[in-house]
Subunit: 459 residues, 2 copies
């Protein structure tokens, strides 16, 4: 780790006082994320307001010190793992909900607000923010926006990018960028708002967000359908998405997932694929909406279907899906979980291709996820202590990405790129498009101090 | 008009042959748009494929000749009006629908496809593309994307930006940029797709688009409600948008609009505001959905409400709205029609403020539009031949924008900036944000040849 200049540290200390940390526990607390990667920063800065963020960025810009903005550290790609010799800019202190405006269906929040805290604050207003990553109780809105986090509800409501109306952010020179606002239609200049979402802290540090809210549905029902094979399930997804009643959730489990669940004692029939859906509406309309979606589930290859109109029955339908992640650990302690995306029509080809890779690399690979978006989690399972398995797992990963790209898909639907997928970017984009991304990075951050080395491969 | 170098013209001719035009009729045909502005280009280039587009851009880049991409020329801001001495790049020949993929709910089109032609081609598949500008029969998809065109349906489905999944575009160096694709969830690198939408041909020339489609609703009903005043109507809009059944259309007419319609013989009651809604669903669910929206319309200040469940009755409800644009011409032949956006809660303040400006400048101003998005069309009516009215109309316009910005809104919801609103951009964005937009322009188009002078004010 390179040593930071004493004058720089002194000036940062003058700016932040007790909000600057360099003790071992503080550095360690900001070293990792959920990707198994770890790197301590040189310093930890915990700003309390916009002015402090701007001052820190300006100082880092002047001294050319790398600055890695972090939220709750729940990301899975290493995007928030500090670079050596960097200042970790921890945004968790800026955690105020500044406004909830039901009439304009929006909320204004600081980036450190937890997703779960926001949902709680919105509930009395009958509103919610759509992004629902599985870490929602502990992840921050700033991190959700930086990674374009999604979740199961994205099939109906979109991801973080689709649910932000405006941003305030500090660019790599310390300048405050203000874009968008509390409105839902905008043809005024370049769309910086959506560009910043998913940019993983490499373009600017988000300091405030105006979020698009949706009304909480009054009623919800669950629907579970088993199919002969992935083809039949994918055909059902196409039928479901081809009619106007969009389910809130449309999850897919492959044969390997179902086999695993049966092996763990779940009451799951012999089937090649499962779909799990939520349909939402008000008390009056829900039965007809559910009937429409249920009809779309019916067709060639459907083995059996269960509907749950009350909460307890719905929880029973969901039990198998919830049991899946723990069940993965019973096979092997190591897991490479990628969140690839393919056109919905290519899901059967993806599942088949992944199983061929599973056979070739002699490793179990379990595929499940957000079928309505063609966003599937491909889980390569292995024993990290077994050198052979470890090597094979690492070798299988590029083959998964190659398969996805060959099927006309892309690398990530909701986790982002970070360090984990950075080196696959040249396979996903042509050189001119990558060069343009680098030029945009340079426009926002001419000194290259903001989260260097993430998202874009070294030029 | 500056003369283009003979060698450049010769090289362009070698590239395009009979697809390069310099006769007076061809130059005149590409001189204007629907903004009353007019400027002939020096040359008209009509490429037939990607390779020709790239070759033209490369040549213009090498010779530093301005290049203005044009679709059908139906824009209202001058964005597609050629700059002096420029080459007009007319994309209407690239008008093929390359694919319609119902299973992936997307279509792949060239930019010259007309919005209306696409809708016609999609109908047999039970699908549609959401953007529905009033010019839909004659405007092109490329132009829709370049201006982020919207329309009444945007309240439910969003604007062009929300309905594009991927783009191929040629940047200012002639490089092909490929971003996004036939999927609905993407956390892979910077979001160039949405950045290009609404950039008015200043960043790149769109050569292909993958569009997000929606299933056609099976049934539709109309609902018309009259209110005491704009406040009561805005409160109803807030109630409508606070429940889960989003209407497909939610239009507002102010008191001045209703007065005008009554004066033209329409059977419209004495009321301070009107809302006009469409609710869509399937045959089974429509009655309950309509009931839910109807309940939300009820409340303080509602004077009367009509519901139309069949097509003929719905057309009757819509007749007044359709009569409005022609009626405007009975007041005065000149019209400055701006498409400002305010937070929904600020609509009454906007309507009141606009009426104060109407009194101050002694000109009728009629306000109506897309209430669900807070996107209102403010129509300043005047006689262009009356020097006093002309001067007052031009003087009133900056006051309208100042009012909108003071209410926390923005300049344009669906028309874009072009030349018409370019000089108001510094009022809408701080200097750092504008500087960043310029830096992004430079990243895409370092020689500044793509539609120079539009969208961004001279630095």
């Amino acid at each position: 780790m390179s040593e930071l200049p004493a004058d720089f540290v002194q000036q940062l200390h003058t700016l932040l006082g007790a909000d600057l940390h360099r003790d071992s526990a503080s550095l360690q607390a900001q070293a990792g994320d959920n990707s198994w990667r770890e790197q301590r920063p040189a310093l930890v800065a915990c700003p309390r307001n916009l002015e402090q963020v701007q001052a820190v960025v300006r100082l880092c810009h002047a001294w050319r010190v790398p600055l890695v903005a972090r939220g709750a550290g729940t990301g899975t790609t290493g995007a928030a793992v500090p670079t050596p010799g960097s200042v970790a800019l921890v945004m968790t202190r800026m955690d105020r909900i500044l406004a909830i405006n039901p009439a304009d269906r929006c909320a204004v929040v600081q980036p450190g607000v937890l997703n779960g805290s926001l949902q709680q604050a919105l509930r009395p207003h009958g509103l919610f923010w759509a992004p629902d990553p599985s870490s929602f109780e502990s992840c921050s809105i700033g991190g959700n926006l930086a990674t374009n986090a999604g979740g199961p509800r994205a099939v109906r409501y979109g991801t973080s990018r689709d649910n932000v109306l405006g941003l305030k952010a500090v660019d790599g020179r310390g300048e405050l960028i203000v874009c968008g606002g509390p409105w839902t239609k905008d043809a005024t200049g370049y769309d910086l708002t959506h560009l910043l979402v998913g940019s993983e802290g490499t373009l600017a540090v988000i300091v405030e967000a105006t979020l698009k809210l949706h009304p909480l549905p009054a009623a919800r029902a669950g629907l579970r359908a088993f199919y002969r094979d992935a083809e039949a399930a994918a055909a059902a997804v196409a039928r479901i998405m081809a009619q106007p009643v969009v389910p809130t959730v449309c999850e897919f489990l492959d044969a390997r997932s179902l086999q695993l669940l049966r092996g763990n004692g779940a009451t799951v029939p012999e089937a090649g694929a499962m779909l799990l859906l939520d349909v939402e509406g008000d008390e009056d309309s829900l039965p007809t909406l559910l009937g429409t979606v249920g009809s779309a589930c019916e067709g060639e290859g459907l083995l059996e279907m269960d509907v749950a109109t009350d909460g307890v029955a719905r929880e029973r339908l969901w039990a198998a899906r919830r049991a899946l992640s723990p069940a993965l650990k019973t096979i092997a302690p190591g897991k490479i979980n990628e969140d690839v995306v393919v056109p919905v029509s290519q899901m059967p080809a993806l599942v088949a291709g992944v199983q061929a890779l599973s056979a070739r690399f002699a490793l179990p690979i379990v595929t499940f996820g957000h079928a309505g978006n063609g966003n599937l989690h491909v889980n390569i399972l292995y024993h990290p202590d077994d050198a052979g398995q470890n090597t094979r797992a690492q070798a299988a990963l590029p083959e998964v990405f190659a398969l996805v790209l060959a099927l006309g898909g892309t690398l990530s639907g909701e986790h982002g790129i970070g360090l984990a997928k950075r080196d696959f970017m040249p396979a996903a984009f042509n050189p001119a498009t990558l060069a343009l991304m680098r030029a945009i990075k340079h426009a926002f951050d001419p000194a290259g101090i903001l989260n260097p080395g993430k998202l874009l491969p070294p030029g």
